[in-house]
């Protein structure tokens, strides 16, 4: 399970995850992911297009960090490949009703910064 990030324009951070977000994969990146989203008022785009499997434990980690960011006046949005099983898992969880899920990086960035 891979996790990388890039800081762009001040408080905007782009995090890219890759691999399987199953129990093992989530535990491998969880601490770094939390650390990367920890700062107050940070705007974050999480790119899941290279994630090929998203189980509920992975969704739980995404929700936990989105919630923590929200409570610090920050925002997290997600980018997924259209029609992917990752997109469907997110839809099943209902997370897409309160965390923005996009298939386009520019739209995602706009939403994160708005």
């Amino acid at each position: 399970m891979g996790i990388e990030y890039e800081d762009i324009d001040g408080n905007f951070r782009r995090i890219s995850l890759s691999g399987r977000l199953d129990i093992q994969g989530t535990s491998e990146i969880e601490l770094k992911f939390t650390t990367l989203t920890a700062a107050a008022q940070r705007r974050v785009v999480v790119d899941l297009t290279a994630v090929d499997f998203l189980a509920s434990i992975g969704i739980r980690a995404l929700i936990g960090n989105a919630k923590a960011l929200h409570q610090r006046q920050g925002r997290m949005v997600l980018v997924v490949a259209p029609g992917s099983s990752v997109a469907k898992s997110l839809e099943t969880s209902g997370i897409d009703t309160f965390v923005g899920v996009f298939t386009d990086n520019d739209e995602a960035k706009k939403a994160a910064l708005s």
């Binding site: 399987r20 199953d22 129990i23 093992q24 535990s27 499997f53 189980a55 509920s56 434990i57 969704i59 739980r60 929700i63 936990g64 989105a66 919630k67 929200h70 099983s85 469907k88 898992s89 099943t92 969880s93 209902g94 997370i95 009703t97 309160f98 965390v99």
Partner: protein
């Protein structure tokens, strides 16, 4: 012609073994001609069922074997295009009696403030499985999850 086979695997309730179980499932189902998308659906169900057993199990149960069985029934013999079929995954564990089919679906949270971290696994199983069945026998839970291809017109299990 109809092709049928079963395969068995055993894991204990640990993260690394869940991944091995996924790899076994993908290998067996791929060999049976199951399409990738269908394998992905069954793999998600496997992960969620095992995660549930891990989350709700006791320390004593952590080392206890969880038996997995895959059973395929498809059209087409070896070397043919297997254009239709079904694979059923049965997960047997010796934990406390638990029938996931009796769990009421939770209402969706409406905002980040009221979202709870848990309870996401069963909706994922319900939306990916074409069939679901549970029985309790000889002190073990048996949960059977079936995925068909091509997917049935009304596949949703409520």
């Amino acid at each position: 012609m109809v092709y049928q086979q079963t395969a068995d695997f055993s894991v204990t309730a640990h993260a690394a073994e869940v991944r091995q179980a996924s790899a076994w499932l993908a290998q067996m189902c791929g060999g049976w001609g199951m399409p990738t998308e269908s394998i992905g659906r069954l793999d998600l169900c496997l992960n969620e069922v095992l995660a549930n057993i891990i989350d709700h199990g006791t320390d004593a149960a952590a080392g206890a074997p969880i038996e997995l069985q895959l059973s395929v029934r498809c059209h087409g013999g070896a070397g043919d295009d297997r254009d239709a079929g079904a694979v059923t995954l049965t997960v047997a564990d010796a934990g406390a009696p638990f029938d996931p089919l009796t769990v009421k679906p939770r209402p969706f949270p409406v905002s980040l403030d009221d979202v709870e971290p848990g309870g996401l696994g069963l909706p994922i199983v319900r939306s990916n499985a074409d069939t679901l069945a549970y029985r309790r026998e000889n002190g073990r839970n048996y949960l059977s999850v079936g995925v068909m291809w091509p997917r049935a017109i009304n596949p949703r299990v409520q």
